[in-house]
Symmetry: none
Subunit: 185 residues, 2 copies
DNA sequence: ACATTGCGTTCGCCTTGACGAACGCAGGCA
DNA sequence: TGCCTGCGTTCGTCAAGGCGAACGCAATGT
């Protein structure tokens, strides 16, 4: 199981984070969610043990999926170089499977094959919020990731990044092929 | 937001479902989770509004991620050769994305990187029902698919098959690398 | 300067969830 | 048959969560 640590801590941080992401005051959110602001105050401070109904009301008012309040946030850009990463089922030395990204609850992941040639970077406008793109480079070499801070990727490397920020895919050599998984909520 | 309906109903069903998936009695699960069996009984009957700590204890005892309790459960072999398949966004000739597999609702897809060497086929015992495995070959050559009818796959090729049937991954040349997406409901 | 508005926190009251004990019910065994 | 063990449910008690009111504080405007 990957569920670590006190869930109350996670919930406290999540509530605070999501609340000022939306830009609501504690009082305003409490009013919209129909919970006492004292309750919300205690929750954000880490004390208290909310009931499901309370959390549900808050998740609806914040317009986020319920599980986002209880699951810890994930890092933004992650790179796993070829040969690194956890080998998950390697009972034989000549076959190694590496877990690159476990699927979060209610995400949908579409699988694409990308073929690109050098000669110009492909800038992507941000997609809808919550999109995460995963790329495994099959052959060639490419510059992939957020436009602000792209990563040079070799065959076998894996990189993921939030798709709702400006990002880029630039082939550096001819015959660049990649497997891309687009994850959206 | 996609979260509809009373979460209490969903939790009730999830608890019942996960409990007899593991094969525990209500009393036994209650003891392991450290909650009163009366509490668990009321939860499974849909009455009650559990606190986060209670749900957390149950999710740990059931060895399932927390979110599986609050999120509702929802609901043969295909090959796409390199160069085939629908090109979805190809506004520029030097960048082509091919949609290999659209994600069905509520499926979860984990992403793996596979490296394999020739010298023996890797037979996989069937996984749990509903598993579908997608493989894009990055380099080398491999024999992939159902044990009864495997497919020879070249770099850039895509193949998917039901993972709940006996299947095989056999590298045919050295340095075979593939990107695998394991889809489970 | 004062009043006012909105913020987040703290303080008692009261509802409610969690607990343990007791209950009814089925299946196994002497 | 009678006894026992384990199942899931129901009942009464108690602590804890949720609530509204009151509080302190800072930033406004008259």
């Amino acid at each position: 199981m990957q569920q670590r640590g006190a869930p109350l801590e996670v919930i406290a941080r999540s509530l605070r984070r999501e609340r000022d992401r939306v830009g609501l005051s504690l009082s305003e959110l409490a009013k919209r969610a129909g919970v006492a602001k004292s309750t919300l105050s205690q929750l954000e401070s880490g004390s208290g043990n909310p009931s499901v109904e309370t959390l549900w009301a808050l998740s609806v008012a914040l317009d986020v999926p319920f599980s986002r309040l209880v699951e810890p946030p994930q890092p933004r850009v992650q790179v796993i170089r070829a040969g690194e990463g956890p080998a998950v089922f390697s009972e034989r030395a000549d076959y190694v499977a590496t877990l690159l990204a476990s699927c979060p609850p209610h995400a949908r992941r579409d699988i694409y094959l990308i073929t690109a040639e050098p000669g110009g970077k492909r800038e992507s406008h941000p997609h809808s919020p919550g999109v995460v793109e995963h790329v495994v480079l099959c052959s060639g070499r490419a510059l992939i990731g957020l436009t602000d801070d792209p990563v040079t990727v070799e065959p076998g490397d894996y990189v993921c990044y939030p798709g709702d920020l400006p990002h880029v895919f630039e082939a550096l050599v001819a015959g660049t092929v990649a497997c891309m998984v687009s994850e959206h909520v």
